[in-house]
Symmetry: C2
Subunit: 468 residues, 2 copies
């Protein structure tokens, strides 16, 4: 064991070692040693990923203790390294007063995100402990969904009057430097006496003008802005079309409410893509982290599984109808799961391409016929290839060409059905207002299973005399 | 039919209507009417999504014709609205000279991305048609993977000497304003005589100093930088920890090679998340768009399907071993696909949570035992719930309690197996250097199918006398 570290360098070295390995143990050791004052320093040494990791490995009592021991500002920085679900989980452990002190240090968009994920009573208790004006602002932000401009905007921005001179602007910037250095201040926003947005002032432009110039003469007039309800897709489109770092958000009266930064839009886009992946795999009730209570995790997963098991039982009922055929030609039972699984695979590929083309804007939800045709052409080729392969296996297995014919034709036809459904179902769901990432998979599997079982066993029943 | 539009407003109005509906038809009409000079104007009216849509709906001959008719700058803007796969596809249609003129207008990181996706011979032909110095620069960038700093950086940046005064810097900015307005110029980079990076100069800071001040006195010395080979994960971590818009990239000698912008990192992160989704659904050979040739799409999908069909046949072989049991208790055949599908669902949920926790850094690839234990607890609960449900269905279906016992116990045990494998396989694959998004699904399905079939039919064989 090395000696107790005494200098900052020692602590940093120790932190670097702890980081490799188990940062949360080092955290506990520092807290238990009665050196909570060295905690902020140690946290600072950790990467944001390791900060999140460390917090996730503490139990509830330890988290409570640790956050209460930290200055609110450091605690707020720690909280910001977490996902929203984690952050809300941690905040919910704290007394309303302690929580409010930490929430107070968060940027306004994150305040709204965290409080929006808490139970209402707890969120209200924390809001009551915040300064009145701040609480009102957060209440307004939480009234918007996370993925519209109102939910993505921050309320901290530089505001100038159009009557100011450049010298006055620079003076104001210098006087508030400490406060602004936390923001990414690249633009100033110019409002009239009624708080209506009338101009934007890129800070860089101040370099090229005389200090006596007036803001109204050098600002960009009639600036582009977005409404509070603009959805994420349109914001993505906006930032794709314009090389801006941020865009002002105005209400119906043209009053400036906040700024949506490009970065916030990019982060929400990542979240949406990750969420589509999770939903397609059956994680649908919200983000799951394995540090959440077992019962919650089990219940959320089960709500999805129980719908699927019912759909599955429905599809398998087709097999029960054909029991006599199956009993006569038991080899068919080997091929039923193969046809079910492979049709699922082919159909899921088509679902994925449709989801991708929808998100790129390359197909419209109304173009089902176009997509269907493009899928059928691929389905014909791949269905033929898979059908021949499975037919060959069947012939080798039982030496009966008719068995090969039955399973081969069934897989060929069912592949075409699977890609047709897989390609068009996301478009249909989107048109009907459902989430295609959640519902496409189960719908696809159920229909292709039913069709697959029906094809294999129906064809076999028709050709029963040749199969015996 | 409205009259031919003659003014810009008419064109804009017409464009706004065309946009609602079929922008590519309007494009073709403008080109065919012999009004190619109005094309850039019309394109400008379209959103980037509609630009991409329009180009995707033209056939190869039309694309060729359209791009050749446009000024290279407009064509380059159009190309930038496309995904990389589309962009390379379109560029590959053009003569090397025409292509080079368009590539010349792209930012350096996109030049490298597009040429990197072309066949080597074609890329070389275009490089030969570019100015020598530019071609060398692009060759250097294409030598890096898309998702490391060298592949994400751009080579256009503001460079100053540390000996310059603020007045000289502002003079240089003003003299090159047109050129710089295309870049997002928020920082200048300061190099010594050997091109080594020695400082960073936030443009905003120039506001607060005298014009006679020297760059070396007001720059941030010893600035943070990254290496050309820094992977995406580390860049994400860097921008999470630092509120910068960009970071300089230096080689082993400290020579400044380019700048990675936060935006490029965010975009690559979205791409990675979307790519994980596509891969998990079996789209693995690169991005598929339905405008690609049918044979290419079929071949790529089939390469994935053919591996799966072989794994599937292997798993189904377990059923063949137990044919006699199955023939004696044909009702079991109804439950085999249910147990296979449901285990797949449960396992995929566990895969998704592991993928998510890996990407958040909340588990390490070595922590398999920890993850296994957290999955078993959920598997016990959900396996019990699903097992009881399926057992009840079996009892209702055949009136035989032992049949219910067999399928219920099999699904209970197999759910635990499925979540154990689903939770740990992504960690194992990552440790072994494989891509967990591609390989987790097929591995999971194969093992759980085999175990599921074995459990149902093995238990049934043991209790055969009770089931008859």
């Amino acid at each position: 064991m090395p000696d107790q570290p005494t200098t900052t360098e020692d602590l940093a070295r120790e932190a670097a070692t702890g980081r490799e390995d188990r940062p949360w143990e080092e955290l506990l050791r520092l807290a238990d040693d009665g050196r909570p004052q060295s905690l902020p320093e140690f946290l600072d040494e950790l990467s944001t990923a390791d900060q999140a990791l460390a917090l996730s490995r503490l139990d509830d009592r330890q988290r409570q203790q640790m956050l209460a021991a930290l200055p609110a500002e450091t605690a707020a920085e720690w909280i910001q390294s977490l996902t929203e679900a984690q952050a809300a989980d941690v905040i919910s452990l704290l007394q309303a007063d302690t929580a409010a002190a930490i929430v107070h240090e968060l940027p306004s968009d994150e305040q709204a995100d965290v409080l929006g994920d808490l139970p209402t009573a707890q969120a209200e208790a924390i809001l009551d402990a915040l300064p009145r004006e701040e609480a009102d602002a957060v209440r307004e932000l939480t009234s918007f969904a996370d993925d519209v401009a109102g939910g993505l905007m921050i309320r901290e921005f530089l505001k100038f009057s159009d009557q100011m001179t450049v010298a006055q602007v620079i003076e104001q910037l210098l006087a508030n430097e400490a406060e602004y250095s936390d923001l990414d201040v690249w633009y100033g926003y110019v409002c009239d006496a009624d708080e209506r947005l009338i101009g934007v002032l890129p800070m860089r432009n101040l370099l090229f003008v005389k200090r006596s110039a007036r803001v109204r003469d050098i600002m960009i007039s009639n600036p582009l802005s977005v409404t509070e309800t603009m959805p994420l897709d349109d914001l993505v489109e906006f930032f794709d079309s314009h090389a801006f770092l941020g865009v002002p958000v105005v209400d119906a009266e043209g009053i400036l409410k906040g700024i949506v930064h490009r970065e916030a839009v990019d982060h929400e886009t990542v979240r949406a893509a990750e969420s589509d992946y999770l939903k397609s795999q059956g994680i649908v009730g919200g983000e799951e982290l394995r540090t959440m209570p077992v019962w919650l995790r089990a219940r959320r997963r089960l709500s999805w599984l129980s719908i699927n098991v019912l759909l599955n039982i429905g599809a398998a009922a087709v097999i029960a109808v054909f029991q006599d055929t199956l009993q006569a030609v038991i080899a068919l039972a080997v091929f039923l799961p193969i046809i079910s699984d492979m049709s699922g695979c082919s159909g899921n590929q088509a679902v994925a391409v449709s989801m991708r083309e929808l998100s790129l804007g390359l197909i419209r939800p109304t173009e089902m016929l176009r997509v269907w045709w493009q899928e059928v052409s691929v389905g014909l080729i791949n269905g033929a290839a898979l059908g021949v392969l499975v037919a060959l296996v069947a012939v080798l297995f039982k030496g009966n060409g008719y068995l090969g014919l039955v399973v081969g034709v069934a897989l060929f036809v069912n592949t075409i059905i699977a890609v047709s459904i897989g390609g068009t179902v996301p478009l249909l769901l989107k048109r009907l207002g459902f989430d295609p990432a959640v519902a496409s998979g189960p719908l696809l599997t159920t229909v292709t299973d039913m069709c697959g079982f029906f094809l294999v066993l129906g064809l076999a029943t028709m050709m029963l005399s040749k199969l015996l």
